[in-house]
Amino acid sequence: MSALAFDLAVDRGAFVLRACETLPLAGITAVMGASGSGKSTLLRALAGLEPAARGRVQLGGTLLQDAAAGVCLPPHRRGIGYVFQDARLFAHRGVAGNLRYGLARARPGAAAPNFDDVVAALDLGPLLGRRVAGLSGGERQRVAIARALLANPRLLLLDEPLSALDAQRRAELLPYIRQLPGRFGIPLIYVSHAVEEVAQLAGEVLILAAGRVTARGEVHAVLQRPEAAAVSGRFEAGALLDATLVGQLPEYALTELDLAGQRLVLPHIDAAPGTRLRLHVRARDVALALHRVDAISIRNQLEGRVLRIDAEAAGAHAEVLLDLAAPGAAPTHLRARITREAAAALGLAAGQPVWALVKGVSFDRRETG
């Protein structure tokens, strides 16, 4: 497994980026941060597109930039692919022409992605004869990703490729992106400010704020941290949970899952029993009760224990961290955002058993095991 090591400084007067990290390159690494935190600048600096970038970049055994060694490879010799937020397809070429532009300049290498494979992986067959101008936002990004892959990069950077799309298109594109590292053996760095996307794609996460790395680590752990909440806003903060599909309820078009030994029911998911799913449950979609509530439309009620209550100093809300796992088992964290008044009225305290009423879940399919 290769690694990307960088120690970069970009000074633009009012904004300064300073980042020094070594990222193991496997699968998808996410870079999260609010607007203006330096995500794009970092990516551009890695790709050699930022003339003001100073420092050192090493990809695997290749030194890409090092002032001390007098090395600064231009972007076209770095072997780093880039998918821009605005796709940047070439308007004077059709879809096939754009793809061939990458292919014709592919980095030599035995493992270069095959044209037909890439077209198949991104479902571009029906689009090959089309002009760029008529494509939808989602189609443009699929073409841009395919074009970048065909240049056979050693590392592919994606700069908020879904940010211009609506929620449904985003959800449609995520599975395409997720399969890329496994299918083509190219690691991805994915920039986003959307927790849901990161939760569904990434293994490792890096969080940037005001030009600095404030948190880094495995996705479950990092998304629980306050730095992640600061990126997405409290409203979107939540928990990631790993569940297993156990069966279908065709009569109601529902699917049954097992989550830490408890039963969870979701609208029909087309997958076989045993399929592992990653769930993202937003804190605002979780209500708490002291007892199981039967006369209520919310059917997903999970038993847990209160671990911690983080009350806002001045605001109305409190965030309750729960553990859903049986005592002694590995913890399964869930977050609930309730009002401070509710927490006081229920007399919530650490260690107390509660029921979590889950109103909404978004999920992501994972390989079995």
């Binding site: 597109l49 231009p74 940047r88 004077h92 532009y101 990458g102 300049r105 980095r107 240049a151």
Partner: protein
């Protein structure tokens, strides 16, 4: 009327053709540099490039004449190298036309390159295209309309040149007697019929060329990045 001399027509077309070809050759890198530079002297260079737009042709012609004179800064080495004077020669006319028509070629090109922007070039670079590769395969095709506009405006503007030619080239048949000079002479000698023919020809030609340009522009709209 029967002995209409078409010599000035061919000479003019040759002058305009050569001038535009040379201007596109040197105007492209200049326009590219102006479109992408961040240097502080950019306004200075832009003003210099635009000067021929505002100066009276006689002023340009006068200073070119000073430069081209056999003892002048340009004329002297030219005479030594070629054995011919720059003044009152076709070569001198080409050089003078290049100065005179420079802004008409550089400005549309610069505008087109600026419209293409850095975005597509950065995309090309991350796909493995070097700077020259990206220029020829991405920037130039996207700026095609700029090239067409630059070529046509430069050509048409050189066709209509009068004052500079008169100052630098005079009126030598076959060498410097271009269309506008020939028309002027016909009018001076009261040959209105001949003047009409040449003038109407130039008018029609210019109109047809412009119609072609606008029609082409409709078919090949500026490419949004």
């Amino acid at each position: 009327m029967s002995d209409l001399d078409l010599g000035p027509v061919w000479l003019t077309l040759r002058l305009a053709g050569i001038t535009v070809a040379l201007l596109l050759l040197i105007g492209t890198p200049l326009a590219w540099w102006l479109a992408h530079t961040r240097t502080r002297v950019k306004p200075l260079i832009e003003a210099l490039t635009a000067l021929p737009l505002v100066l009276p042709p006689t002023v340009i012609g006068f200073y070119l004449l000073v430069l081209f004179a056999p003892a002048g800064v340009l004329g002297e080495p030219w005479l030594r190298l070629t054995g011919q004077t720059l003044t009152f020669s076709f070569s001198g006319l080409v050089l003078a036309s290049m100065v005179y028509s420079l802004p008409f070629v550089v400005q549309p090109l610069q505008g087109a390159f600026e419209a293409v922007g850095r975005g597509p070039l950065e995309a090309a670079a991350t796909l493995g295209a070097g700077r020259l590769d990206a220029f020829f395969t991405v920037a130039s095709p996207l700026a095609l309309r700029g090239y067409v506009t630059a070529g046509v405006l430069g050509f048409a503007h050189t066709l209509g040149e009068f004052g500079v030619v008169l100052m630098v080239g005079g009126n030598i048949p076959g060498r410097t007697r271009v269309l506008s000079i020939a028309i002027y002479e016909q009018v001076e000698t009261l040959n209105f019929a001949q003047a009409h023919l040449l003038s109407a020809g130039l008018l029609l030609f210019s109109f047809v060329v412009l119609v072609l340009v606008y029609a082409l522009n409709r078919r090949f709209p500026v490419h949004a990045a």
